[in-house]
């Protein structure tokens, strides 16, 4: 690199800047559950809006002008291009600022980043998608990707547990999946104070009693709070899932998204480059991963 003494005609910071946010318009704010809104954005640049492709499980760096930038997983599916959907919990400085924005306000988006789910390897296999609580946010992309490419996968089982119906993300659309004959959609709540819940009541692991699984030919995608990992991962191993076919999406502090700033480093991997999708084997081998 020292050899290139002459400056390029247009410096790379202007033309090939990995930190460059692209401006996008908020086209919809859907108040899914309290403190968990679904933001739909579309790049101002039409060509970019249509060109922007990604894998289920990838994330973007979302900028709120004047406030900062944070990693947000993509909840929409690449099979439905044009807009990006992000399920954002109001939890920190940036997301609080995002919640103050309205339809037609502008944010910055760059990405997509991370490895995403290995959809080529998963093709032809059965899929088990197991989510607890907010873990549905990154897995919803995989759900729709699999359903929109239904012929690519064999059996599809979705298990999703929330504390109560009011906290279930994407509740209406997931309830509409229960009747589909080409998949098994098991929705459960720990308790139903509303008395109107017509699906399962019980903890997420009890859904294994209702699912027919063929572990040697299945990829499991798991995301949720620590309790989900604690009770689901070992259960899957007991059922005969290889640790390499148990995939999980992890969260870390990130400032760059591209393997430079150092914050998301776990053991010898960067969550932003080598993750956020890791296998259970990775998680066991890397210190402090879960």
């Amino acid at each position: 690199m020292l050899q290139a003494d002459e400056s390029p005609a247009r410096p790379a910071v202007l033309t090939q800047n990995p930190y460059q946010p692209h401006m996008a318009r908020i086209v919809r704010v859907y108040k899914m559950v309290p403190d968990n809104y679904l933001f739909t954005v579309r790049f101002l640049d039409d060509a970019l809006a249509m060109r922007f492709s990604y894998r289920p499980g990838q994330f973007v760096m979302l900028s709120v002008p004047g406030v900062g930038e944070a990693p947000i997983s993509i909840s929409s599916s690449p099979s439905r291009p044009g807009v990006l959907e992000m399920c954002v919990r109001r939890v920190g400085r940036l997301t609080n600022a995002l919640y103050r924005l309205k339809t037609n306000d502008v944010v910055g988006v760059r990405g997509p980043y991370g490895n995403g789910f290995p959809t080529e390897q998963m093709a032809g296999r059965d899929l088990l998608i197991a989510a607890g609580g907010l873990g549905m946010a990154p897995l919803r992309s995989l759900v729709w990707y699999a359903l929109d490419n239904r012929e690519k996968f064999s059996r599809i089982v979705l298990m999703y547990g929330a504390r109560n119906p009011g906290e279930m993300l994407f509740r209406e659309e997931l309830v509409s999946l229960v009747d589909r004959s080409d998949m098994t959609c098991l929705l459960t709540v720990d308790a139903d104070p509303t008395g109107t819940w017509t699906n399962h009541i019980g903890l997420l692991p009890t859904m294994f009693d209702h699912a027919t699984l063929d572990p040697p030919r299945t990829y499991a995608a798991v995301c949720g709070p620590p309790a989900v990992y604690k009770y689901i991962l070992e259960r899957l191993v007991e059922l005969g899932f290889s640790k390499n076919r148990i995939l999980m999406s992890l969260e870390r502090r990130m400032k760059c998204g591209v393997g430079k700033c150092g914050h998301c480093s776990v053991g010898y991997k960067y969550t932003c480059l080598h993750g956020p999708i890791f296998t259970y084997w990775d998680a066991i081998n890397l210190p402090e991963m879960i």
Binding site: A12, V13, P18, P21, H22, G68, R253
Partner: protein, 344 residues
Amino acid sequence: MKILKLPKEKLDFFAVVVQQFGEVHAPVEQDGQYAFKRLSRWSEARLDYHRTILPPKKYFLPPCEVLFRYRPAVGYQPETEGLDDRLVLFGVHACDIYALNILDQVFAGPYPDPYYQARRRNIAIIGIECQPDERCFCRSMRAGFVHHGFDLFFYDIGDYYLTMVGTARGDDMVLATGPLFQSVTDADIDEYKRRSASRHLAFTLGVEIRDLSEIVEMEYHARIWDELGERCLSCGSCSMVCPTCYCYDVNDDVALGSRAGRRSRTWDSCLFAQHALVAGGHNFRSSRASRIKFRYYHKQRGFVEEYGRPSCVGCGRCIAACPVHIDITEVINQLRGVPHVTGG
């Protein structure tokens, strides 16, 4: 590689000529320590320094750097100011050049960092050989010599500097001085070898890095990390002075009464309490012990996995900077279960 020699008495003249390649910065003395600074006159330069407080990384990854300026209706505009400045860093030691070569790898990869790379392109480096002091252990980190990453490198061979010409720009510097540089003789090479052998023996500090990453892995639950956590103040001094530490934080700020702002990055440290803190309050490394362990694990184990070598060059700055006298060589020797290693 083109190899020449420069008579030592011509160094002053060379330093004047080299100004046409950029503003010359070199180590100057400052309260008994040394720092790379812009020279107001050549006589300020102290080429016999042992180590500067901050490594030359400050020129390539500045402690605070504006990345973008934001204006409503325009969006984020990359900051270009300063990226094209031509500088000549005069008198950089081999370990510090080695560290820049390590940073080159970090700031390349699938997402090259255009800010770092622009500065690296535009800042010339003239390296100079040094003699180890009691805190130098670059020899044992295999970073006591550097094969690339400089424009020119000077080895002291008595009345001359044996000069390795590393780049076309380095060659231009040589050519710009006219007939100042001379060809080397067999006797010069012999003198170089003699001095190199004696420098090799001058190291009093060292570590053994063979299978260190395996040992760090095996000792992951060792008591030593808790003991270090008790001592460590989480001040981050070791990261700031480290020539290979590159963690940075990114912050936006807005001018009062305006909607325009800027996004800048500043040096960060994995020892700072919030380094692994995520929104919602969970901290993946909330204890000091876990953070200092992470620093060692990342440099001596993680980096080996990713880049094939530890991200430590043995410059000794962290030993000098630590307010509670945590000494990386002692930590490594303790992990290995061996006493003090001389030279490595």
